[in-house]
């Protein structure tokens, strides 16, 4: 237990000490929120879909968590290059505990970033139906965070250096975000995109988050969202632990 705690604490300290990173990583969600939100707002309204900021905000929160979580997982490559990974790999602690601690730390950081973005959304004009929506919304945020931190760890366990990073960025992170229903409503899109989105775990996370915050309007349904998110999170945690336990230097 103390190993998990100490690995988590390390992530927290690193996060708290990198103010530039905290502020820097808020630029992108802000851009999407303002650029897309206000830019496409009128079109969205004309199409009879209602207020776009209301629709977009949960998607941007999901995006923030996706990016932060995946990068937290991928930070493993930094640790490999700067050497700290060795220290944790020879420690007399089961590697699964190291992995759980790292994931908990990365996920906590991602949730924090998500909460900051929600605060920004509230300032910009986003209004959730009621305050009772928060507990359910928080569960979805946590699931997205844990899922993608685990995925990042799994990927980083396979990469020796940053050369493969661009590949991950362009062929995994960006498609996951754009093909998820974070930016557009799924029910009104063409079928192929809907099919792709239904294989994208983020779609379920964003759908659940949106449904919780707006008090309904689920695309997949709350039960489906929760079940799919939980199942994939468990699978990715298992995969990440397995790949991390096999890391050699």
């Amino acid at each position: 237990m103390s190993a998990i705690y100490v690995m988590w604490l390390r992530q927290m300290k690193r996060y708290a000490r990198s103010r530039a990173r905290i502020i820097g990583s808020l630029g992108q969600p802000l851009l999407f929120l303002l650029g897309f939100g206000f830019g496409f707002g009128p079109v969205f309204q004309k199409a009879g879909q209602g207020n776009y900021i209301q629709f977009l905000a949960p998607g941007v929160v999901g995006m923030t968590i996706l990016f932060t979580a995946l990068f937290s997982g991928i930070e493993l490559i930094w640790d490999r290059q700067f050497g700290f990974l060795k220290e944790t790999l020879v420690a007399p602690v089961p590697r699964i505990l190291i992995m759980i601690g790292r994931t908990a730390g990365g996920a906590t950081v991602a949730i924090f970033q998500g909460l900051i973005v929600i605060a920004i959304c509230l300032v910009v004009g986003f209004r959730p139906v009621s305050w009772t929506a928060w507990p359910a919304a928080f569960v979805y945020m946590a699931l997205i965070a844990v899922m993608f931190t685990a995925l990042g760890t799994a990927i980083a366990s396979l990469l020796a250096d940053f050369q493969g990073f661009q590949l991950v960025m362009n062929f995994l992170v960006m498609p996951t975000f754009f093909l998820s229903g974070a930016l557009f409503p799924l029910s009104s899109t063409m079928t192929p995109i809907e099919v792709i989105a239904s294989f994208n775990p983020l779609s379920y996370g964003v759908d659940g988050l949106r449904g919780a915050l707006l008090g309904g309007g689920y695309h997949f349904g709350a039960a489906t969202d929760l079940a799919v998110m939980s199942a994939i999170t468990v699978v990715l945690l298992g995969l990440g632990s397995y790949l991390f336990s096999r890391v050699q230097l």
Binding site: G83, F84, V90, A91, P94, L249
Partner: protein, 264 residues
């Protein structure tokens, strides 16, 4: 305490370690010497569960590092050749986290960390992040960290690289104290022959992945009719500089890594 039999490690076609065998008794200080790229660090990585051997047998305290990873990890401590501290954390936090990971009780941590930080003259800078430290200070921190818990076996991979004579002295007297007082088995590599001559009970010399000589410092000197260990070392390994070799090895290893990682 440490046993290697017909140990082989290949990276692709390149054989970094070729069929080496040696044994280290409990309470012994064993020096593993060799030119750059001879296979020293690769061997240490195989002994310390960081790398799986291609073939051969390894036992640490009677256990196989490949199958009993956790038990084996509990038995040793290591000071790495290259940096392994966290830059963003302070010197104190680095030691404290290490202590938690190695299950050093809180009371003992509170007692030993200040002692070690003072011994290696880092106490005044204990609350500064390591990224502000000079190369020598980082090295001292790594070594202080290695002494925080008392393992059965201590691996020291070129621990004195880049250290001033004062710190080198501190280090070796500490190692001797652990070895004599607590019967800690020590496995070390170094390029400073006079250090090996001074502290090691037995020495193995490795070159191009094979062990070419083994014995006490005295035996090695007699064998080569040399006066110092350095002369004996040069007589055994020749005078060609191996830096080219070393970078080749690194390239091969990177290539091998890239290849194996794409096809896991």
């Amino acid at each position: 305490m440490i046993l290697a039999e017909h140990l082989v490690k290949k990276f692709g076609d390149f054989e970094a370690v070729r069929d080496i065998s040696f044994e280290v008794q409990q309470g012994e200080i064993f020096a593993f010497l060799g030119p750059n790229g001879a296979g020293k660090t690769t061997t240490i990585k195989m002994l310390t569960t960081l790398l799986r051997p291609t073939s051969g047998k390894v036992r640490l305290d009677g256990l196989d590092p490949a199958t009993h990873q956790l038990q084996v990890r509990k038995s040793f401590g290591i000071v790495f050749q290259d940096p392994s501290v966290d830059d963003e954390l302070t010197a104190f936090e680095n030691l404290d986290f290490h202590g938690v990971l190695y299950k050093v009780p809180r009371k003992l941590r509170a007692e030993r960390i200040p002692k070690l930080l003072k011994l290696f003259e880092l106490w005044d800078r204990r609350n500064d992040p390591v990224k502000q430290f000079s190369g020598g200070m980082r090295r001292r921190l790594e070594i202080a960290r290695g002494f925080l818990h008392t393992p059965k076996i201590l691996f020291l991979d070129e621990p004195t690289l880049g250290l001033d004579p004062q710190t080198r002295n501190q280090l070796w007297s500490h190692v001797k104290q652990l070895n004599e007082g607590e019967r800690v088995t020590v496995f070390l590599t170094t390029h400073y022959m006079e250090e090996a001559d001074r502290v090691a009970h037995r020495i193995a010399i490795i070159d191009h992945g094979s062990i070419i000589a083994q014995g006490t410092p005295q035996e090695l000197k007699q064998q080569t009719h040399a006066e110092t260990l350095e002369q004996a070392f040069l007589a055994l390994t020749g005078t060609t500089i191996r830096d080219e070799d070393a970078s080749n090895v690194d390239q091969m290893r990177n290539f091998a890594k890239m290849w194996t990682r794409r096809r896991p």
